[in-house]
Symmetry: none
Subunit: 528 residues, 2 copies
């Protein structure tokens, strides 16, 4: 099977998303990662649209890429000017990219309404913009904007626009589902029609407004298309572009098409997270292939089956895309979940060991009280260690007091916490402020302990979630707090449940600190 070329537009179309904006340095770093993983074309920006994009093309030339080609994006020339006088086309050439990709109008309605020129004139725009670029740039691609909508409105004219691009010797003609509304069965039919008229290599560019962008891209490849455009994590305007993190593994592992190497594919999850990180967005847990939950199993039946034969409930081996199987613990889980979890944490445990049963009973009882260990795996690990007797008590808290005070109608309340801890016989009594009671308590706790355990300075509180659990018969309602903490290497979740939100938060904070201390000790232990 022939090679499918991957064209990434995270740095251009991806930044059209409402919440995404990259610095030039971010773009350079992402370009390197895309190159490493084997993306063939990296669209860096639209040099005609803003100075940041001009800077990118200047800077990227100083970088050494292993194989990727850099593409610059723009539009066909304006009406009534020759290509060599068109500002937009000139800036494209000045950017000195390996490839130029320009878009033009396919849909007669857009030609009339947006360009306000004749249909014939639009064909000339397409033809001579491409012809001019072909003479000045190594490779030239044509994005047929709104191709599928245009084809549905006026198939003859839509095909004529592609023919104009073909006549100008565009190296690839990319069919765009710009509004993202095309249904997969329509797309297949239309591509089959196009292939009756066009012999030039075809590409596909889809958007996710119907949640069909990935399927549409894969269909296009199975219909003979040789270039796929998309973005990492599906970033893009409105509902996003086609997600390359889902397209690449499908091409390679399911459709057996050549695109990137096996070793490169194993870096897919890392790439996904790297791009989230630079965009300052939380990764989507449930993302196909690369998400934290993509290979996470909850039900007891599933778990015991997975352990014997992963293919029973996994569509592929997560390691192939750099992900891994995770076993969740919940009220649906059985003994096999506990054992699998223990293994994950390198804790030796026997299924016949009465401790296993004790932990299971413990969990069930805690879950009845409202605990939830999904997302609180650090608390779960500590619970296992306590049951197994491998838990170490690093400190004890003798007491604390938190005060929130509002002195005037227009003044914000201030929070202050005092705390007394005991570490190896020594008592530390201290106080801290915070922008809320939990933050103040967290600050005071860590201030008191950092003296003895300086590594706690690395810990940051990343997320804090609260849920009120309704009252059972004769009991008050309780509050569940989930805290996510992190240091430079990793993130961990802890949980606390109490009628009192401060108490619940306090439990989760204590677990977080204890987890960090255990982790540091293990790392130091292994270095010795």
């Amino acid at each position: 099977m022939s090679l499918v070329k991957l064209y990434d537009t995270t740095l251009r179309d991806g930044t059209q998303a409402e919440d995404i904006s990259f610095l030039v340095e971010d773009k350079i770093r992402i370009a390197h990662k895309l190159d490493e993983i084997g993306i063939h074309y990296i669209e860096g920006g639209w040099p005609g649209s803003n100075p940041k994009d001009v800077a990118f093309f200047k800077d990227i030339k100083k970088e050494k890429l292993s194989q990727a080609k850099i593409a610059a994006f723009g539009s066909t020339r304006r009406a009534k000017v020759t290509p060599d006088k068109d500002h937009n086309l000139k800036t494209l050439i000045q950017a000195e990219p390996d490839v130029c990709t320009i878009f033009g109008k396919t849909w007669d309605f857009h030609v009339h309404e947006a360009l306000r020129i004749s249909l014939e004139e639009n064909l000339e725009l397409i033809f001579d913009s491409l012809e001019y670029l072909k003479a000045n740039v190594p490779e030239v691609f044509y994005d047929a904007e709104h191709f599928f909508d245009g084809y549905k409105a006026n198939p003859d004219y839509a095909i004529k626009t592609l023919k104009a691009a073909q006549d100008a010797k565009a190296d690839c003609i990319v069919l765009c589902d710009t509004n993202g509304g095309t249904m997969p069965f329509e797309l297949v039919e239309i591509i089959r029609e196009v292939r009756k008229h066009i012999t030039a290599p075809l590409g596909i560019h889809t958007h996710n407004d119907s949640e069909c962008a990935v399927a549409n891209s894969l269909h296009a490849v199975s219909e003979g298309i040789v270039q796929v455009q998309g973005t990492i994590n599906g970033f893009g305007e409105r509902c996003g572009n086609a997600n390359l993190c889902s397209i690449i593994p499908a091409l390679k592992l399911k459709m057996k098409r050549e695109c990137i190497g096996d070793d490169q594919l194993r870096k897919l999850r890392d790439l996904s997270r790297f791009v989230y990180e630079l965009a300052n967005l939380s990764p989507n847990k449930h993302q196909a292939y690369v998400g934290n939950s993509a290979f996470a199993h909850k039900g007891g039946v599933h778990v015991s089956a997975i352990q014997r034969h992963p293919e029973t409930y996994e569509h592929l081996r997560p390691e192939l895309v750099g992900n891994m199987t995770r076993v969740l613990v919940s009220d649906l889980s059985g003994r096999s979940n506990i054992l699998a979890k223990a293994e994950e944490f390198n804790i030796k445990m026997d299924s016949k060991d009465p401790v296993t049963l004790e932990i299971l009973e413990n969990i069930k009882e805690m879950e009845n009280r409202g605990y939830q260990f999904e997302g609180a795996e650090a608390s779960f690990e500590l619970l296992m260690k306590r049951a197994l007797g491998t838990h170490r008590k690093f400190f004890s808290v003798i007491g604390f007091r938190v005060i929130d005070e509002k002195r005037h109608e227009d003044q914000k309340p201030l929070s202050e916490a005092t705390i007394m801890v005991k570490v190896g016989g020594k008592i530390e009594h201290t106080a801290a402020e915070g922008n809320g009671p939990v933050n103040a308590l967290d600050n005071a706790l860590r201030k008191a302990l950092e003296k003895f355990y300086p590594r706690l300075k690395e810990v940051k509180l990343l997320d804090y979630k609260v849920r009120v659990l309704p009252a059972g018969q004769g009991t008050a309602s309780s509050i569940r707090v989930l805290i996510e903490s992190g240091d430079k290497e990793s993130r961990w979740g802890t949980v606390g449940v109490s009628e009192n939100i401060v108490d619940a938060s306090y439990q989760a904070l204590l677990d977080s600190v204890e987890y960090k201390l255990h982790k540091s000790e293990e790392i130091e232990g292994s270095k010795k």
Copy 2:
């Protein structure tokens, strides 16, 4: 075209997601919303798996639904027992649902490895479990687990399992892509083969592990399938189930298939957000059709085109699914939204009134700071009243102090609040305890005010939700508190946002009390 039946499994398969757990009361509330929007079948749970699900089926029978049928989920009988002796099948019948859906094995590999019985025995399991249920339950559906993987491994056997279900007169045979790994073109081919052998009505149940669940479901319908299973927002294990919020509008608006009414479709976005809210999850901004960004346009060419002809960059009119176009300049749709809301609250407002614009600006500014008025309509109503000058200040809070104190390692912390309020020139200074800082503050506030406004005794705090909002550029992260309060007649939601959780809670508590006082006054006014 014939009707496509919608089968929602948010309450069963949806809760298999790592981060989702609904209370029985949540499930009842969601069931009502699903019924209102016109979902035909609501799968409430697996009564054989846990007591929470048994409670749901008991409670839902007391509720009046307008059209939806309630389905209970389970599996085929165990080997070596007759159906009438099978615990799982018995609990299904005892739940007294309108429909039973049971799953069975299609894949020979699973029959050998998971069930450890012969292929022949599995066919008997399927047949007589269904036959037994058919005699005891009005409607019976058969979920062919791992159908597509099973078919690829052993097509003859896979078809045989469907035939067993057909022979037992199952009302619908649902083809499941349990592992979510099936490519759309494979799925189409396989369904065409199945239809050569099976005449019973067919359903589809897909998972999103390849990001193709929606496309696969739509393909299935275009291949003649009459029942689509999925969840709201695509909640579900691993990468989720097929997202009904994307499937429904595609069926209705793009494929012109009958499923729900036009008015019901306009509630789609509300339904999506309601389910996110009860799951205590942030809505996905970029979600197709219903997300905040789904019809959001970033400046320039797109915006002016959109304003003249929305179809230029929108695949459908957002109003059809209860969403709206968002443009970053002069937001006309925003204004009409405000007017619609005002109408809902019986507040007279003119679209040309500068107050309308003032409210709009106010809301935008507050939303930027993290406020959210979905689920906090009482706060929204107060905001409108303040802008219109119809708001009355019943009291002012001069100051408060909340103390949480833990005196000993094994003692729970105690919370105490003091507060000073002013009502019509009189100052009241009082204190109260509580099982947490917010509860203590709530108790103190109401204790201070009840002297003047005895009707506040009727108010109960029903729900309390907290979410941490990520930090913007150069700002600390803030906390959003949503409070639900109620009296004998009604329930109302209020919101507060601050860096400090006590402050955010205080704002929401104040709004709740003010809302109650306004409401009481209006009722008393109308009695005079």
